[in-house]
């Protein structure tokens, strides 16, 4: 086993200049601006705005989509803050108020429509498309988030990915509203939430996997020969 003093000498010998990480708010802002640009291109290209503007006149829908979008934004910001070692874990709580607003609004809408439309709206065909939309849109967003977050080499990647997964799923659900021109039913709500849950769980699990594969993140030449360290970041 190498001694700590030898290790220090090896690390000091490897003291190359490093590019400091951007502040988390700037990173989150950049990522979100990228998402907004792509979302704008997609919604303008598919002519989804006119129907959306009409629907936004309803206060309940406006509140719901605002809460969904805010959940996405706050969760993405939380993910970037959580990726740094010296930031509080309480950042994980940041998206909770808007998440509750989103769920509450959806639940209220679903309750109303369940009573009014009954079995007419219980069609698996449409709801399965919602599931595929949320999960499908989340995959490239998850890759984009990973590419930005990985530079921070978070100590607890699962926590970062959990927040990131919630943010991505919420943003995907916001985007879904452009192509979901009717109020949600109980089945819709269940499928939307299942899709969000799938994304969050998959992202959290991938974060745990990233934590396990930490050793590849440290260049081999930085590891002193004979070092017993196997859990180095």
């Amino acid at each position: 086993m190498t001694t700590t003093e030898n290790l220090i000498e090896s690390l000091a010998a490897d003291a190359r200049p490093v590019r400091r990480l951007w502040p988390p708010f700037a990173l989150a802002g950049t990522w979100l601006v990228g998402f907004l640009i792509l979302a704008m291109i997609l919604t303008l290209f598919t002519n989804a705005w006119p129907a959306m503007i009409v629907r936004l006149e309803g206060a309940r829908f406006a509140f719901e989509i605002a809460a969904t979008f805010a959940t996405g934004i706050t969760a993405i910001i939380a993910a970037f803050y959580l990726s740094l070692p010296d930031r509080s874990r309480l950042w994980l709580v940041l998206p909770l108020p808007t998440l509750l607003g989103w769920l509450g609004s959806n639940g209220y809408e679903c309750y109303g429509n369940w009573v009014v439309y009954s079995r007419h709206e219980l069609q698996w065909g449409d709801t399965s498309k919602c599931f595929v939309f949320i999960v499908g849109i989340s995959i490239p967003m998850a890759v984009a988030l990973y590419l930005v977050v990985r530079r921070a080499r978070p100590l607890d990647a699962s926590r970062v990915m959990m927040a990131g997964g919630l943010g991505i799923a919420a943003l995907a659900a916001t985007l879904l509203q452009f192509y979901h021109p009717f109020d949600v039913t109980f089945v819709d709500l269940a499928v939307h939430m299942l899709a969000v849950l799938v994304v969050v769980v998959a992202m959290t699990a991938s974060g745990a996997g990233l934590s396990r594969f930490r050793p590849y993140l440290i260049p081999a030449k930085c590891l002193p020969s004979g070092s017993r360290n196997s859990g180095g970041f």
């Binding site: 190498t2 700590t4 290790l7 220090i8 000498e9 690390l11 000091a12 010998a13 490897d14 003291a15 190359r16 200049p17 490093v18 590019r19 400091r20 990480l21 502040p23 740094l84 070692p85 010296d86 530079r151 921070a152 080499r153 100590l155 607890d156 993140l217 440290i218 930085c222 590891l223 070092s227 017993r228 360290n229 859990g231 180095g232 970041f233």
Partner: protein, 191 residues
């Protein structure tokens, strides 16, 4: 610097880390040397074994090295360092817990490896059986095998000690080994 909470080197360390991020190896070395006792104090609070504490310190130093670009010189250095230290100590404690939960410590009774050197009890048993078998051999064969095989004397030394010729010693040894094979085989069959 036994009480790391009382230490006030944070501002100085912050400056050293900022210079280390710019590639100043001397500052970086100074910083790592300065924080090591501090890290040892943190690790010692959580590990009973000195070796485990030192391993934790090394893991913390490696992590500091790997993510030094995440430190913002505009923020205090110590919370950044302590967060890394705590995380690495917890990781090591968890890994130890998992390892201990699925491992059983070996006792002398568990020495069942293939290498003969580890099977000491068996070797002891074989030695006693051999001694009994050698005692049953005729006098000339017993002397020959004892001196040449067990005491590992040369043929000339054994000839001088017993007064037997070298040829007679070779014949006696050959017969002794054959008889011992029979005797030992019979013993193990009886068991």
């Amino acid at each position: 610097m036994n009480d790391w909470r009382a230490s006030n080197g944070g501002d100085e360390w912050s400056g050293l880390m900022a210079r280390a991020q710019d590639g100043d190896a001397a500052s970086y070395r100074l910083l790592l040397m300065a924080i090591t006792p501090y890290l040892r104090a943190i690790a010692a609070r959580h590990h009973r074994e000195l070796r485990d504490a030192e391993d934790s310190v090394q893991e913390i130093l490696l992590t500091v090295h790997a993510i030094r670009h995440t430190y913002d010189p505009g923020r205090p250095f110590k919370p950044w360092l302590v967060a890394i230290a705590r995380r690495r100590v917890i990781d090591r404690l968890r890994a130890q817990g998992r390892r201990r939960a699925r491992e059983t410590f070996l006792t002398p009774e568990h020495e069942t490896f293939a290498a003969p050197g580890t099977n000491l009890y068996e070797a002891d048993f074989d030695a006693r059986a051999l001694t009994v078998a050698v005692a049953q051999l005729p006098d000339s064969q017993r002397k020959a095998v004892t001196m040449l095989k067990l005491e590992e004397k040369s043929l000339n030394e054994a000839a001088a000690a017993t007064g037997m010729s070298v040829a007679a010693l070779k014949v006696s040894t050959h017969r002794a080994v054959k008889n011992l094979r029979k005797l030992m085989g019979r013993t193990s069959e009886n068991e």
